[in-house]
């Protein structure tokens, strides 16, 4: 049950410069937990003290913002691509 997570430049120091990471978790929340177990420290970069996704972090599943899906409860299926992207200015 492989899904790929695309790691943004600012986090690659934690992933030994790996850009694409294969995970097996079945929700976004579980993906973050899985990443944390493999790359300690990554969770606090993505989530704030209350456990919510930090306000300047955008997470996408196959190009859709998880805020339009079920946030951290968003379910994943095989082959899904997850992107973690910092908010950027306009336009």
């Amino acid at each position: 049950m492989a899904k790929n997570v695309r790691i943004p430049t600012p986090l690659r120091k934690l992933t030994n410069n790996e850009e694409l990471i294969e995970v097996s978790a079945s929700t976004i929340g579980d993906v973050i937990t899985e990443l944390q177990s493999r790359y300690p420290g990554i969770k606090e970069r993505l989530l704030d003290e209350s456990g919510a996704v930090r306000r300047f972090v955008n997470v996408y599943v196959n190009e859709e913002d998880i805020r339009f899906l079920q946030n951290q409860q968003t379910k994943l299926k095989d082959g899904d691509e997850i992107s973690i992207i910092p908010a950027i200015a306009g336009g």
Binding site: R55, F56, D65
Partner: protein, 413 residues
């Protein structure tokens, strides 16, 4: 410039092409040495310089003299008496960036800073994610500076905005999606190639360019901060930088401390920030844009949190207008002041009209409306909504018949 600093946690970073805090993804902002700037930067020094945005160079993030866009800025601040009467306010001014140099929008301000800084950092290729105006400005200024340009835009943009990027020889990439999707792709591309992405890795420098609009307003009003400023919001960056410009002028003693309000304008079809403000929230909910104001169609506004904070801190308000109200406001501005604004300008004027009618901007006060782009670029938006020319043969009889049918008072004048 001293450093880049995270707006969320305060961690400092060196002055490189970097826009995001490694720790919490917070945006980085340029830190200045105001004590040093204060020593030589005063009204006299400013007045002795050419009338461009670079007369405020100490407060713009370049290390040396600018190398791109020396002629940008210092657009007219127009006293809009006829529009003031139509909107029912005592005094009204239009900051007219429809005639900014060279690409007729306020984006030339941010691009001249971003490209000057990009050259200082050794980049030869520049890029951007854009709703149109930024693409035009990057394309033009890169051409003039001899840099290679890649601009990424939603593929359904107005024809005028697409041509206005192609003509300069830029690589124009149309993305089948809305701006937020272009943005997401560009965030991924930016990490991969060694390019200066003006609104991604160059964003801390780029965004500061917007302050020049506020500096000019204050100087042109006789070193006075206006009681009300109405600014359109896409990412919300311009609004926060106008606020910062007023704060910096107060800090440096260039303008007196005064009570001022900054108001935000959005299109109803993409109004995450104004909706949050009206609901009294300090966070926004992302939306999927659907509006003719394509230059403002950002559903996930990167500076939305900070824009809401500025609205709150300055006691400003926010509102939004429908597509029909935007077109009406474009006509209102054109017919009363002879200024043809793009859809974003219609949003600003339309919202100002609402805020004055609602008493959120007092009829007894004075207001400045920031009109950020030129209507010649968004002709599609008004085409078919402002009548058609009446066609006649080159015959005096036909002309007089036409006049007689339309307006008897003109006959035998």
């Amino acid at each position: 410039m001293k450093a880049l600093k995270c707006r969320e946690c305060g961690r400092e970073y060196p002055l490189t092409a970097n826009h995001v805090c490694e720790f919490d993804f917070g945006p980085l902002e340029v830190v200045y040495d105001y004590d040093r700037i204060r020593k030589s930067f005063n009204r006299q020094a400013i007045l002795a310089r050419p009338q461009t945005m670079w007369r405020y160079r100490e407060l713009l993030p370049v290390a040396h003299e600018p190398t791109v866009g020396f002629q940008v800025g210092f657009t007219p601040l127009v006293k809009a008496d006829r529009l003031a009467k139509a909107l029912g306010i005592r005094e009204l001014w239009i900051k007219n960036d429809t005639v900014n140099y060279p690409t007729l929008s306020f984006k030339d301000r941010v691009v001249s800073v971003a490209l000057s800084r990009a050259k200082e950092l050794g980049f030869t290729t520049v890029a951007c994610a854009s709703t149109g105006n930024l693409a035009n400005s990057v394309a033009a200024n890169a051409a003039a500076a001899g840099m290679k340009a890649y601009v990424f835009i939603p593929s359904d943009l107005e024809q005028g905005k697409i041509l206005n990027s192609l003509i300069y020889g830029a690589n124009v990439i149309g993305i089948k999606g809305h701006y937020d999707e272009v943005n997401r792709l560009c965030a991924e591309i930016a990490g991969k190639y060694g390019w200066a992405f003006v609104n991604v890795n160059m964003r801390p420098y780029y965004a500061e360019g917007s302050k020049s609009m506020g500096f000019e307003i204050v100087e042109q009003l006789g070193w006075r901060i206006p009681k009300h400023t109405v600014v359109c919001m896409a990412s919300g960056s311009l609004l926060t930088k106008i606020h910062k410009s007023y704060q910096e002028f107060i800090k440096l003693g260039l303008a007196g401390e005064t009570d001022y309000h900054i108001h935000g304008a959005q299109a109803t079809g993409c109004s995450p920030i104004s909706t949050a403000q009206k609901a009294g929230l300090d966070f926004f909910k992302p939306v999927k844009p659907n509006t003719i104001a394509k230059s403002l169609a950002i559903g996930t506004p990167a500076d939305g949190f900070y824009a809401l904070k500025v609205l709150k801190e300055t006691g400003g308000s926010a509102d939004d207008v429908t597509d029909d109200e935007i077109r009406e406001a474009i006509k209102l501005l054109a017919e009363h002041e002879g200024i043809f604004a793009e859809t974003a300008g219609g949003v600003t004027v339309g919202v100002a009209r609402k805020l004055i009618a609602d008493g959120k901007i007092s009829a007894k006060d004075s207001a400045v409306l920031c009109v950020t782009g030129n209507g010649l670029k968004t002709l599609d938006a008004v085409n078919g909504h402002c009548g058609h020319p009446r066609e006649i043969k080159p015959s005096l009889r036909e002309f007089e018949a036409l006049l007689a049918a339309e307006d008897h008072s003109l006959l035998n004048a």
